[in-house]
């Protein structure tokens, strides 16, 4: 049985809503008994960033959208927890929205927890106490004082103020004069820690972590801060939190940060202990129950498993970038699997480091969650980046026993080497060589020496005769033009100084022709100074001497020597006191139409 057959058999495609249009991010969806009727629902955050649209909290009962309410701000996470041991009918739903943790019960607002203010610079407090009383002139001075405080330690209000144009200062200050200064750090992630029992309906403490790296453990009854700690000793912004254990007994809170640290907070810790540091960004993190192994998905497409102390155990490289992870605890099989969502829709399910199942979603999954939904115990919810909602139900008969190790290695060994067949030609040639090795060697050496000699000759020839259209060193370029049909021509030479800095000095042009073929108006033309980048034009008249008509054969001999035409003008550009020409050119003259005498 192949793998694909198995994967079809394990999951039932229960529902797929292509028009859901959800923009949900990891940490943005939960399955919980929100209404308290035993029917677990899917609560999710639909994030909209546009100016005229608001983010929403949506609740699905089965496949139906049963509640939809707007949220005051862009939410970063959603959790559900039971608040009171005496009241375990409805769990509370907590949504981290900007600075607040909004708590809903049965879809109704219930409480709002606001993160406490961070310390404010005394200078800023002082300035704000003075600001409202000051007349316009000195306000500017006070605002300048504010600028002396490091920008990132100012309250948002002051940050805005220092960026305002001075004429708007008074209005702005009037607006805020009676309100206390606040400097709060937005909530980046939330988690729940069971208080004293594994039972889901017992109270759990919400945990809130902020941008500045503070972690607040809240009391589920009155939402006071039970414990406060910081993520780690350096600056770190938490992005994912996972919990193990009980708040009242012993717990581990594992925090992944944007900087790539994974830190551990335990009962009584005031500061997180760094477990490890990854070079690449952490995309998602899961804790495998039982061993408490930490699974990290990083942006280099690798899934890595660490022990709870932070020692690396194994890593797997995926074929596509990972977008999300989901823990699939299966109590009836007493095992836990991890679903890995990847770009372009592949979802692979791993048991430890072994792939046990895979299927593909419609496109890149953005969130995968697993849990109870409605009456169904094992439902996998996949929300893709393009907003498709997909529900899959795990078959009761599905088992995730390891497939046999694939036998790819022996297969690879059995593949023969990609060697070409021995060709007949090859064999013949080698046989020939074996017979006549000495001769072949001698011929080869002779030819080699001959080749070298020819090459050396050619080299010597080209060195002695500096023909060419340009001179690299002097940066002179010559172009020639022959005007006329003959026997009288005009030879036009253009000398270009390509050097952008130096002018050309002391040059003259010398013409060489066969005196029996051509007569020139000038044989030596001294050149004036040619400034950088400019061209100079030289003209000379060429008269072709009419050969004697009586000896036709002889004229041909005269015009050609060694197969080369003699009908050319050689041009040399020479510098005073230099033997070698700076540049030389051979200009082939067009043949004159010999006027045939009419008989």
């Amino acid at each position: 049985m192949s793998r694909s057959e198995l994967s079809v058999a394990r999951w039932l495609d229960a529902h797929s809503d292509h028009s859901a249009g959800l923009a949900t991010l990891p940490q943005g969806a939960i399955l919980a008994d929100i209404a308290g009727d035993g029917e677990h629902r899917l609560a999710l955050l639909d994030i909209k960033l546009g100016k005229d649209s608001r983010s929403r909290l949506k609740v699905y009962k089965g496949t139906l959208l049963t509640a939809d309410q707007t949220l005051p701000d862009v939410p970063s996470g959603i959790i559900s927890f039971y608040t009171d041991p005496s009241d375990n009918k409805y769990p509370a739903v907590g949504i981290a929205c900007g600075l607040d943790l909004l708590i809903y019960k049965n879809n109704k607002p219930f409480f709002k927890f606001v993160v406490p203010s961070l310390p404010i610079s005394p200078l800023e407090v002082d300035i704000w106490s003075k600001l409202p009383d000051h007349v316009n002139q000195t306000v500017g001075k006070l605002v300048d004082n504010l600028k002396a405080v490091p920008y990132n330690t100012l309250t948002p209000r002051s940050q805005l103020l220092v960026n305002l144009p001075p004429e708007q200062y008074p209005e702005f200050i009037q607006n805020f004069k009676n309100l206390p200064l606040k400097r709060q750090s937005p909530i980046t992630c939330v988690a729940v820690l069971q208080r004293s029992s594994h039972e889901l309906t017992t109270p759990g403490c919400p945990i809130v972590a902020t941008e500045a790296g503070h972690v607040y453990f809240l009391d589920p009854v009155n939402f006071q801060i039970l414990h406060q700690a910081s993520v780690c000793s350096t600056k770190a912004s938490p992005c994912i939190m996972r919990t193990v254990g009980f708040f009242d007994v012993e717990f581990r809170l594992i925090i992944a940060t944007r900087e790539g640290h994974v830190t551990l907070l335990r009962r009584g810790y005031l500061e997180g202990k760094v477990l490890m540091h990854t070079v690449k960004d952490i995309i998602d993190m899961q804790i495998v129950p039982g061993d408490n192994f930490i699974l990290l998905a990083t942006s280099d497409q690798v899934l890595t498993c660490y022990t709870k102390r932070g020692n690396k155990l194994w890593s797997l490289e995926m074929k596509k970038p990972i977008t999300c992870l989901c823990l699939i605890p299966l109590k009836h099989l007493s095992t836990s699997l991890v679903a890995v969502g990847m770009k372009d829709g592949a979802v692979q399910i791993y048991k430890g480091r072994h792939l046990v199942d895979h299927f593909s979603a419609a496109d890149t999954p953005s969130v995968i969650i697993f849990g109870r939904m409605g009456q169904e115990e094992h439902v996998l919810v996949i929300i893709t980046i393009s907003g498709i909602l997909n529900l899959k139900i795990l078959k009761r008969t599905a088992d995730f026993n390891l497939n046999k190790q694939d036998a790819s290695l022996p297969l690879m060994q059995n593949k023969p080497l990609p060697l070409p067949k021995r060709s007949k030609l090859f064999l013949e040639q080698s046989a020939r060589e074996r017979q006549n090795a000495v001769e072949m060697h001698r011929n080869f050496q002779q030819d080699l020496i001959r080749l070298r000699l020819n090459a050396a000759r050619a080299m010597a020839h080209s060195l002695s005769d500096s023909t060419g259209m340009g001179n690299e060193k002097e940066m002179v370029k010559v172009s020639a033009q022959v005007l006329g049909l003959g026997p009288n021509f005009t030879l036009v030479l253009n000398l270009e100084n390509m050097n952008s800095n130096k002018p050309l000095l002391d040059l003259s042009i010398v013409f060489h022709v066969r005196p029996d073929l051509y007569k020139l108006s000038d044989y030596l033309i001294p050149l004036p100074l040619i400034p950088p980048g400019l061209t100079f034009r030289v003209e000379t008249k060429v008269e072709e001497l009419q050969p004697e008509m009586d000896a036709n054969d002889n004229t041909n001999v005269q015009l050609e020597k060694d197969g080369q035409s003699l009908q050319h003008v050689k041009v040399f550009c020479v510098r005073k006191d230099q033997i070698a020409p700076i540049i030389a050119a051979t200009i082939n003259m067009p043949p004159t139409d010999i006027t045939i005498p009419v008989l």
Binding site: F172, K182, R183, T234, L417, H441
Partner: protein
């Protein structure tokens, strides 16, 4: 007017979009945030810089990070990113300065900064300082990249023992890294501890069964033990993942040569040579195979190329001499062999081959002297073929001396023997090739 929001409000979302590769929405969000904060949102700018760098706009990225640094001069991360951009722009000195500044600004020791300082120093050819910083990085971070870089420097400076120690530490801190295990195995091979090398390479293969460098290493060890079929089976797997490796094809070729499959050997060696036409080891091996198949003219060309590339080795000259002898060019053969003899006067192969050459050219005294020298050489280096040839030469020489007659033509057996003599030499070349190529790969 409501109380303004903190500008860091959506930093988490920027980060999430970025790491999941949703660059489009990420960029829109960053631009919105930068606009709203009037260019003061450090994190948004920081991410903008990173995205720009990922897209290859290094200069713009650098400018963005410099903007970040201006907003918050205390943030070490900004300095680190500036250093990284400068490093990628190949302005190593400036990068080094940025990192050194980061080192001073950082409250805590940071392996990344140490590592990057080391890397910049390495680019600036300041190996000692690079080593110093990389050692710090290794001790602090225990990261594979730092180990790799440190090992690279140590190998470059031929400090093999230290390199092995470092790689052992590396294996300890990254026990699941097949690359690190392979590296360690190859370093062990380099210093000649085959047993350790074999262990390391085997554990590397246990983690990654198709790691071609580990397979090459294991194959080489088995090949040296003359288990050519085992070696071939390893190379076959390695070739699937790395079909363009010079060393692999060279070693496969020599396996075939040892199995007397000369056509296949020539094919493989030529393939290897095609990838690296100036690899003198492949050239020598090809020359050797061709000598063996009686194609002395081809052999001469290959060996000649090898001699031109490495004129400092006795063995190449010896092979050149053998080829010339086959080609009946005795004068030049004599010259080549005396050159070889001058370079390594104590090599048994060279001594005996030179002796043969002198004998064939009629220099009986010189031949007898060399034979004497061969006799006095350590016994350990003499193989069976060498001894056989020695006995034959000895017999012919003494026969001449007794009879005092013009020398009889040398026994034909000697010639074929002479080719076989080169046989062990080739495996030495094989081993060398493999090792040096591996190291080249590593670097």
């Amino acid at each position: 007017m409501p109380e303004p929001h903190p500008m860091e409000k959506l930093n988490w979302l920027i980060h999430l979009y970025h790491i999941r590769g949703e660059i489009g929405p990420c960029r829109t969000l960053i631009n919105d945030e930068i606009e709203q904060s009037q260019g003061k949102n450090e994190f948004a700018l920081y991410k903008k810089g990173i995205i720009l760098r990922e897209e290859g706009n290094l200069q713009e990225s650098l400018e963005t990070f410099q903007q970040c640094h201006k907003i918050n001069p205390e943030n070490v991360d900004n300095l680190k990113q500036i250093g990284k951009c400068l490093f990628m722009l190949k302005r190593f000195r400036l990068a080094l300065e940025a990192y050194l500044q980061a080192e001073n600004a950082a409250q805590k020791h940071d392996w990344e900064i140490f590592h990057n300082i080391g890397e910049s120093c390495l680019q600036l050819k300041d190996n000692n300082r690079a080593k110093e910083y990389l050692e710090k990085a290794v001790n602090l971070g225990k990261q594979e990249v730092s180990y790799n870089l440190l090992i690279k420097i140590l190998s470059k400076e031929n400090e093999w023992q230290t390199a092995v120690t470092t790689s052992n530490k590396g294996v300890e801190s990254c026990p699941d890294s097949a690359d690190m295990l392979t590296k360690s195995g190859i370093l062990y091979l380099r210093i000649g501890e085959t047993q350790h090398a074999f262990e390391r390479l085997s554990s590397a293969l246990a983690l990654d069964a198709s790691n071609h460098r580990a397979l090459l290493g294991i194959g080489c060890i088995t090949q040296n033990h003359e288990e050519h079929d085992v070696a071939l089976s390893k190379y076959k797997i390695a070739v699937q993942t790395e079909p363009n490796s010079v060393a692999l094809w060279n070693n496969i070729g020599m396996c075939f040569y040892a199995k007397q499959k000369f056509v296949a050997a020539v094919t493989c060696l030529k393939r290897s040579l095609w990838h690296s036409p100036l690899n003198w080891k492949v050239l020598i091996n090809l020359g050797l195979v061709n000598l063996h198949t009686g194609q002395a003219a081809s052999a001469f060309n290959f060996i000649c190329a090898a001699v031109n590339i490495r004129p400092d080795l006795g063995h190449t000259f010896m092979l050149l001499g053998c080829a010339l002898l086959e080609l009946n060019d005795k004068e030049n053969a004599l010259q080549a062999l005396s050159q070889a003899l001058a370079m390594s006067p104590d090599d048994a192969y060279i001594v005996l081959n030179a002796c043969l050459c002198y004998y064939q050219t009629g220099h009986r005294d010189k031949a007898a002297e060399l034979l004497e020298r061969f006799k006095n050489l350590a016994n350990g280096v003499k193989t069976e073929e060498l001894n056989k040839l020695y006995v034959k030469l000895d017999l012919s020489l003494t026969a001449i001396n007794d009879a005092d007659q013009p020398p009889p033509p040398p026994p034909t057996g000697i010639k074929s023997n002479e080719n076989i003599i080169n046989n062990p030499d080739d495996s030495a070349a094989t081993e060398d090739t493999k090792e040096s190529t591996n190291i080249a790969d590593m670097v």
